[in-house]
């Protein structure tokens, strides 16, 4: 989508503005009731993330380089390491190049952490919150469906994504996408198949997919599923097929974390992307000890899209990038 908007007027209707305000109020009420502390962490930092597929926006502060934060994760984990207890952040995040009907480079994110919880406890809380945010008064709550990533593939594609060899994944990706997928990585092929074949067929209501492939672990712990295959303790949440949240049982092992960052940097070099150094203060915080915790990030603009049954993100934002 690459159109210019020549109007001075907002994209969001009056109804959408009201609904957003109501949603933010309900959200703060939800966490106040559960004694989760709101924290306001920097949007502008000296470091960024190494993730291959998330590009931060670099800015210049005086003469130094800074970055608009792609998520509050590292600052929040530094607070957790310092003994903050359960915390949430409600504010903006920025990601370069993400523009489309479901993406705006600046968006509203909710992120929270629960100490001594596992991913499944947090999944329950995410579903509770989403139902409170979206469900109108006097309406019954949305159905909540939980299934593993492996089961989704078995049901829709007829094969096990954790056990499938790379050739099988590539040939499925070429058939779905185009010839350019013939030498793609395991994770990219899985993402393509998931987005084109599985996501559109997810049940309606709230759907939580858990136990992601090991190669898509990001910042989550790895453990074994009932078949003994390594899987990542990561989950994603969809509302009527739209991805709205991503959560982890957080990785606390420092050696493993540093190794993943170094792998990320190698991938960035190989794919010709701008270099992003490891955030040393985040590493120092992990050294001092991150408590065992589960965390999740929610894209609130998308939740609002589902609450209002709107398909263009432009219509839930006062002014999307195209209108600024």
């Amino acid at each position: 989508m690459a159109y210019e908007m020549n109007t001075w007027q907002p994209g969001a209707s009056r109804q959408a503005l009201l609904r957003r305000a109501c949603l933010l109020n309900r959200l703060r009420g939800f966490f106040a009731e559960r004694s989760v502390l709101e924290v306001d962490v920097p949007l502008l930092g000296k470091s960024s993330i190494t993730d291959v597929n998330i590009d931060s926006i670099a800015v210049t502060i005086d003469t130094a380089k800074g970055y608009l934060q792609t998520s509050p994760e590292y600052f929040m984990k530094r607070l957790l390491a310092d003994g903050s207890g359960d915390i949430y952040y409600l504010g903006k995040a920025f990601r370069d190049g993400e523009i489309g009907t479901r993406h705006n480079p600046e968006f509203t994110m909710l992120e929270w952490y629960r100490c001594n919880w596992d991913d499944h406890q947090l999944m329950t809380e995410v579903a509770d919150l989403l139902n409170i945010l979206i469900t109108e008064e006097h309406c019954s709550p949305m159905a909540v469906t939980k299934m593993s990533y492996g089961q989704c593939f078995m049901d829709q594609m007829g094969f096990d994504p954790h056990g499938a060899d790379i050739d099988q994944l590539r040939s499925a990706a070429v058939e779905l996408g185009s010839s350019s997928w013939s030498d793609e990585s395991r994770t990219n092929c899985l993402d393509l198949i998931f987005s084109l074949q599985i996501e559109p067929k997810l049940p309606s209501g709230i759907v939580i997919i858990h136990d992601y492939p090991e190669c898509q672990c990001a910042l989550s712990k790895i453990s074994k599923n009932h078949k003994g295959q390594p899987i990542s303790r990561r989950f994603e949440v969809f509302i009527d097929g739209l991805e709205v949240a991503n959560g982890y049982l957080e990785l606390t092992n420092i050696d493993e974390q540093v190794k993943r960052f170094e792998d990320d940097i190698q991938h960035r070099i190989q794919s010709g992307k701008s270099l992003r150094a490891i955030d040393q203060k985040f590493i120092d915080a992990l050294h001092s000890g991150l408590p065992s915790c589960a965390g999740v990030a929610v894209g609130l603009d998308r939740v609002l899209m589902r609450a209002l049954d709107i398909t263009e993100i432009d219509q839930v934002l006062a002014f999307s990038w195209h209108r600024t």
Partner: protein, 188 residues
Amino acid sequence: MANYSTSEFRSGLKVMLDGDPCSILDNEFVKPGKGQAFNRVKLRNLKTARVLEKTFKSGESLEGADVMDKDMQYLYTDGDFWCFMEPDTYEQHQATEAAVGDALQWLSEQDICIVTLYNGSPLSVTPPNHVELEIVETDPGLRGDTAQGGSKPAKLVTGAVVKVPLFLDHGDVVKVDTRTGEYQGRVK
């Protein structure tokens, strides 16, 4: 030709895909959670007119296609080729039957058409949106029937068959929308 990256794909852009010129109809940006971004692109193959859906990794590029739309006047056919002329330069182009395609049934000499050139040769022909053509064959007109009274098939001088009101007769001239093939009115 220049190369275009996925972020430059927009409706109407002409690109080469698997050796054929295509026109982009739609481009949707997709990015799974932590995954690589990609673009779901709908394209029309300009040779076959078929619509395809392809998914490219964001940042991938396709070569632009040397495709150009030009207004040209239809001159004549010798049965093998259909001859069109650029009105400003008088340059003439020979289109094959495959290139003329469905436009054939609407073409009268001197009509101004859009001829799509690919590497300088006609690839397809779009007839004028509205044409006025004489009926050469239809059931006899029924007196007393009004415009709302129903319809019957009528063959036009160029070969097209359209549905016309019952009161029209052989020799009448009708206006037709070539995009839908629908009768628009009688030309007096």
